[in-house]
C-alpha cells in the first residue's frame, strides 16, 4: 500500500469499471440460466453457445426501442432519474479492494481505486443517494403505480439501510477501522487451533451480523422476497412502469450492479475478500477467490428469487423494525462487551 502515480489509478479504475459493466451484463445471463434450471427449463439457448450472446442481443433490442416520455411526466426529472441510480451504483465500486499493492511489470499497483478511511460508510452513502433515482423516477412518471413503488422503495431503503449499517458496527468494533482494505487484510490473518489453521473471516466471529447483513443487502437491492418497489403482480413494474428503452435498462442494470456491489461488499467484509488458498502468493488467485465468493452470493440471490414468495409491505417494515433492528443492536452490545473483555477493561 503506497502512493502511486495517478495514471495507474486511472488504469485500475478503468479496468474495474470494464469488468463490472461486463460482469453486470453477464449477471443477467447467469440469473436467467440459473433461474431456468430452478424452474425446470433451459433458459436462453438461441443466441450464441448456451445463450452467451443474450446480453448483447438484449442491449441491442433495448437501444433500438423508442424512448417514451409520458405526457403526465415531469420531463426533466423523468429523463434524469435513471442516471442517478446507475451512476451511484457504479460509484460504490470505488472503495472496494480487489487486492493489496502488487507488482505488475515492475510497477507498484494498488488493486483498488481509492482507500478512504470510511470506505464502508461510503457504500452506504452512495446507496442512500441511489434511492433518489427510484423516488424521483417513480414520482415524475405521473403514474400511481410508480408513485406507490417509489414510496415503498423509500421506506424500505431507509429502514434496511439502518440495519445494514448496524450490522457492520460489530466489525468496526473488532477491527477499529472503517477502511475496507484494512478490514479485508485483517481477515487474511490465520487463526490456529492446534494443528488446524483457519482464516479469520468475520463470518466466524460475527455470524449474527452476517445474517443481518445478508437480509438487509437483499432488501437494499430490492430483490425477492423484498422486491416490493417493483412487485410485478401488484404494482405492474413499480417505479419503472413508464420507462422504456435504455432508461428502463439503466434501472435494470443499476439493480444488477447493486447486486454485484453488495456481493463484493459482503465478501470483503465477512468472507475475507480475496483471502483464500494461495491468495497471498499470487494476486490473481485472490481475485479469483473474490469472484467465486461473489458468484456464490449471486447464486444465493437467485435461489431466493426462485423459492420465496413476496412479503407484504407491513410485514416487511415489521420485520425490519421489530425483529432485525433489536437483533442488530444486540449484536453491537455483545460485540462491544467482548471487545472490552479482550481489552481487559472488564473483569
Amino acid at each position: 500500500m503506497g502512493d502511486q502515480p495517478i495514471w495507474i489509478t486511472f488504469i485500475v479504475t478503468f479496468a474495474i469499471m470494464t469488468v463490472l459493466l461486463l460482469s453486470m451484463a453477464y449477471t443477467t445471463w447467469y440469473e436467467r440460466k440459473v433461474l431456468a434450471r430452478f424452474q425446470d427449463r433451459l433458459g436462453p439457448t438461441r443466441t450464441g453457445k448456451a445463450g452467451l450472446m443474450q446480453p448483447l442481443a438484449d442491449a441491442v433490442k433495448l437501444m433500438g426501442k423508442e424512448d417514451l416520455v409520458p405526457d403526465a411526466a415531469d420531463r426533466n426529472v423523468f429523463l434524469f432519474a435513471p442516471l442517478i441510480t446507475f451512476t451511484t451504483a457504479l460509484l460504490s465500486a470505488a472503495v472496494i479492494p480487489w487486492g493489496g499493492t502488487v507488482q505488475i511489470f515492475g510497477t507498484d499497483v494498488n488493486l483498488y481505486p481509492t482507500d478512504i478511511n470510511v470506505g464502508a460508510l461510503f457504500i452506504l452513502a452512495t446507496g442512500s443517494i441511489g434511492v433518489y433515482g427510484i423516488i424521483l423516477g417513480g414520482w415524475s412518471s405521473g403514474n400511481r403505480y410508480s408513485l406507490l413503488g417509489a414510496i415503498r422503495s423509500a421506506a424500505q431503503v431507509i429502514s434496511y439501510e439502518l440495519i445494514l449499517g448496524f450490522s457492520l458496527v460489530g466489525i468496526f468494533i473488532i477491527t477499529g477501522t472503517m477502511s475496507l482494505t484494512d478490514i479485508m487484510f485483517k481477515q487474511h490473518e490465520m487463526l490456529s487451533f492446534g494443528p488446524f489453521e483457519i482464516s479469520n473471516w468475520f463470518v466466524l466471529t460475527q455470524p449474527l451480523g452476517f445474517v443481518l447483513f445478508v437480509i438487509a443487502a437483499v432488501a437494499e437491492t430490492n430483490r425477492a422476497p423484498f422486491d416490493l418497489p417493483e412487485a410485478e403482480s401488484e404494482l405492474v413494474a413499480g417505479f419503472m412502469t413508464e420507462y422504456s428503452a435504455m432508461r428502463f435498462a439503466l434501472y435494470f442494470l443499476g439493480e444488477y450492479i447493486s447486486m454485484i456491489i453488495m456481493s463484493l461488499f459482503a465478501a470483503t467484509l465477512f468472507l475475507g475478500g480475496t483471502s483464500g488458498p494461495g491468495a497471498d502468493k499470487f494476486w490473481g488467485l485472490g481475485i479469483m477467490w473474490l469472484v467465486l465468493k461473489v458468484m456464490a452470493f449471486l447464486f444465493f440471490y437467485i435461489w431466493l428469487r426462485a423459492t420465496l414468495p413476496r412479503f407484504r409491505f407491513d410485514q416487511l417494515m415489521g420485520l425490519a423494525w421489530k425483529v432485525l433492528l433489536p437483533l442488530a443492536i444486540l449484536n453491537i452490545v455483545v460485540t462491544a462487551f467482548f471487545r472490552l473483555i479482550g481489552n481487559g477493561q472488564v473483569f
Binding site: 461510503f122 442512500s128 431507509i158
Partner: protein, 236 residues
Amino acid sequence: MSWELVFFAVFSAAMLLCGLGVVAFENPVHSAVALVGSFINVAALFVMLGAEFLGVLQIIVYTGAVLVLVLFTIMLIDPTKLPEFYVGAPLQRFASVVVGAILLAEIGVAIITRTALEQIGPHTEAMVQQMGGNVQAIGQVMLSEYALAFEIASLVLTVGVVGAVVIGLPNRMVEPNTVTMSLGHTRGSSDMLAAGPKFESPMNIPAERYTAPVGERTVVMTKDPDAYTHPGETSK
C-alpha cells in the same frame, strides 16, 4: 493554481448554484432535488478538507434519510394548495431578514475568531493526528466533552419519533373490520333508491369472528353430506 483550488471552485460554485435553485425553482420537488445537490457538494467540500467521516455522514443522514422524508412530504402535498410565501406579511419579511442577518453574523464571528484573532481552539490538526484520525477524534469528543449535548439531542430525536408515531397512528374511531354490505361503487344510485327495508342482512357478525389464528391448521375431512352444513356447527 493548484488542482485543489480548481476542485474547490467547482464544488462551491455548484453548491451555490444548487442553493440558488432551492429558492428559485417553482416546483417544490425541483427545489428539494436542488437541495440534495447542494448537500452533496457540501459533503465533497468536507472530503476535500480531510473530513471524510463528516462528509459521508452528511450524505447518509441529511441527503439519505432526512431529505427523503422531506421530499415525500412535498410530493404528496398538492402544490396548488401551498401557502403563498411571496406575499407574506411585512412582519414575516422583516423577521426573516433579521434572522438571516444574525445567522450570517454568527458565521462571520466564527471565521474571524479562527483566522484574524488566531484563536483556533483545542481541536487542531496535531491533536486529531494524535487521537488516531477523524473518526476517533469525533468519537472521543462526542462521548466525553459534549456528552450532555449528545444525550439531549438523542432525547429530542426520541421525542420526535414518539410524536411521529402518535400522529401516524390509524384513527381508532373507525373500526377497521366493521362488516357492512358490499355496496360496490355507490355513486349514482344511492339517492335513487326507493325507501323501505334495506339491509336486514344476516351479517351482523362481530369483528373478532373475522380473525384467524396463526397456529397449526388442518382441514376437516368428511364423507357425510349432512355433517357440518349449518353455520353454527361448522368444522371450527
